[in-house]
Amino acid sequence: MRFDASRNQHVLLSPEAILVLNPTGAEILELCDGSRSIAEIQDQLAQQYGEAKTEEINSFLAELINRRGIEVTDD
């Protein structure tokens, strides 16, 4: 993920796709740093955005995993 100055937005770059992220999406992706578990990320976002957003956040994370924008490891 990097900030694209010419579009004034964060973007996630992968082999054949580009995701243009809104500020919330970029913030969520910042948390996916390889050290936090999915549960920790979910907890932190629940605190930040409230439980009401849980479903929306989970579907965003699922979509990212599905598109291989983030990788989940076993350990």
Partner: protein, 381 residues
């Protein structure tokens, strides 16, 4: 090229910044694949851009908003300055993708490319066994590709294997997927041949039958279920067998463009003849800025948006879904790039496509024939 998934989508009529550039660094290539989409008139494109010219173009592209740079050819590893070019693009913040046959990709150069910041390697595969693979490639290359895949794994790059499917290898699709998994691919792109350039000349020898396609689709579906997320499989359907055309390039000069070895800029990698056929002068980065080319050049505005469309496209509810299909295909089949893509079942020229499909499925035709090999034009810079 495959579609680029981009969100959010803006209205296609509004001029966006380009997301990606395909830089075809050279048309020289040690392989002779008969499905190659490079132009038949290769001799025209030997006066390649210099290192400094490409570097300037990459900087202009980054300023224009380009985020992704695909380095291809021909065989891009034939450029001695490939590492330098990757380094420049990387320093400009672009995601760099090398599309290679694997020939010329040795340990020393791989390590240098890693160091220079290359993000991703796309390796072409012709078949899952040596004899057929080397026959399709027209040169000994199967073993080399296995070694390159190992090297890519060792250097911890994400790796995509590209397989162009056609009549002579589509029955091997199950074995190809198994081999790709063994080679450690993160993604496999199984793309049915598109009939441009050399592939256009070889169409009758390349087009698969209905039966072959039905079998291939079953194998792909089962492999997707079996492999889950461990290897992503992308299957690009053959448009000749579709009812609607592909949304080619997501619209002419809308999200990405191509720069060919001589510096000519094209809205799509196979538009060389479309431009000339339309009586337009080619636009090159040697004479114009990329910004002018993208925003103002007659070539890039030729089929931009939907105003150019004839019927049945202009009143079609799908006009902003498939953008009238492929301009190069309309030109190749009808001689007029401004017509509806004949692949569309609503096109008045659709019989040009159904005729070819029927010929491919004719049980009395002699089989199999030889492919016209794509020659290697060599390099002159």
């Amino acid at each position: 090229m495959t579609d680029t998934a981009v969100a959010p989508a803006a209205a296609p009529t509004e001029l966006e910044q380009p997301f990606g550039v395909l830089a075809e660094l050279t048309y020289a290539c040690p392989l002779h694949c008969g499905y190659c989409s490079n132009p038949v008139e290769m001799e025209r494109y030997r006066n390649e851009l210099t290192t400094e010219e490409w570097q300037r173009v990459f900087a202009e592209a980054a300023d224009l908003g380009v985020l992704q740079l695909h380095l291809s050819g021909g065989e891009p590893m034939l450029r001695k300055d490939i590492t330098e070019l990757v380094g420049t693009a990387h320093d400009l913040g672009m995601y760099t993708n090398l599309i290679t046959s694997g020939l010329g990709f040795n340990r020393r150069r791989a390590e240098a490319l890693r160091e220079a910041g290359l993000d991703h390697v796309q390796l072409s595969i012709q078949a899952d066994e040596q004899t057929l693979s080397d026959k399709i490639a027209g040169t000994t290359s199967f073993e080399r590709k296995q070694e390159v895949a190992e090297l890519v794994q060792e250097l911890d790059w994400p790796m995509t294997l590209n397989v162009v499917l056609h009549r002579q290898n589509i029955d091997r699709i199950g074995g190809i997927l198994e081999m790709a998994h063994r080679m450690g691919a993160d993604r496999v792109e199984l793309a049915n041949t598109q009939y441009y350039g050399w592939a256009g000349l070889n169409r009758s020898q390349l087009m698969p039958t209905r039966e072959q396609l039905a079998e291939a689709e079953t194998v792909v579906r089962e492999a997707k279920e079996r492999l889950g997320t461990s290897m992503e499989i992308i299957y690009v359907i053959p448009d000749y067998y579709s009812s609607y055309p592909k949304p080619c390039m997501d619209g002419w000069a809308r999200r990405q463009f191509t720069i060919i070895p001589t510096g000519e800029a094209l809205p799509c990698p196979t538009a060389h003849e479309v431009i000339r056929g339309h009586g337009l002068d080619p636009v090159t980065v040697r004479e114009h800025s990329l910004q002018w080319i993208w925003e103002s050049s007659p070539v890039f505005n030729l089929f931009r948006g939907t105003d150019w469309m004839p019927e049945p496209c202009s009143s079609c509810p799908r006009k902003e879904i498939d953008f009238g299909g492929c301009r190069c295909q309309a030109f190749a089949l009808t001689g007029d790039a401004a017509r509806t893509d004949p692949v569309c079942h609503l096109s008045p020229d659709h019989e040009l496509v159904t005729g070819a499909v029927e010929a491919a499925n004719d049980p009395t035709r002699p089989q199999p024939g030889e492919l016209i090999p794509r020659p290697n034009p060599g390099r002159r810079s």
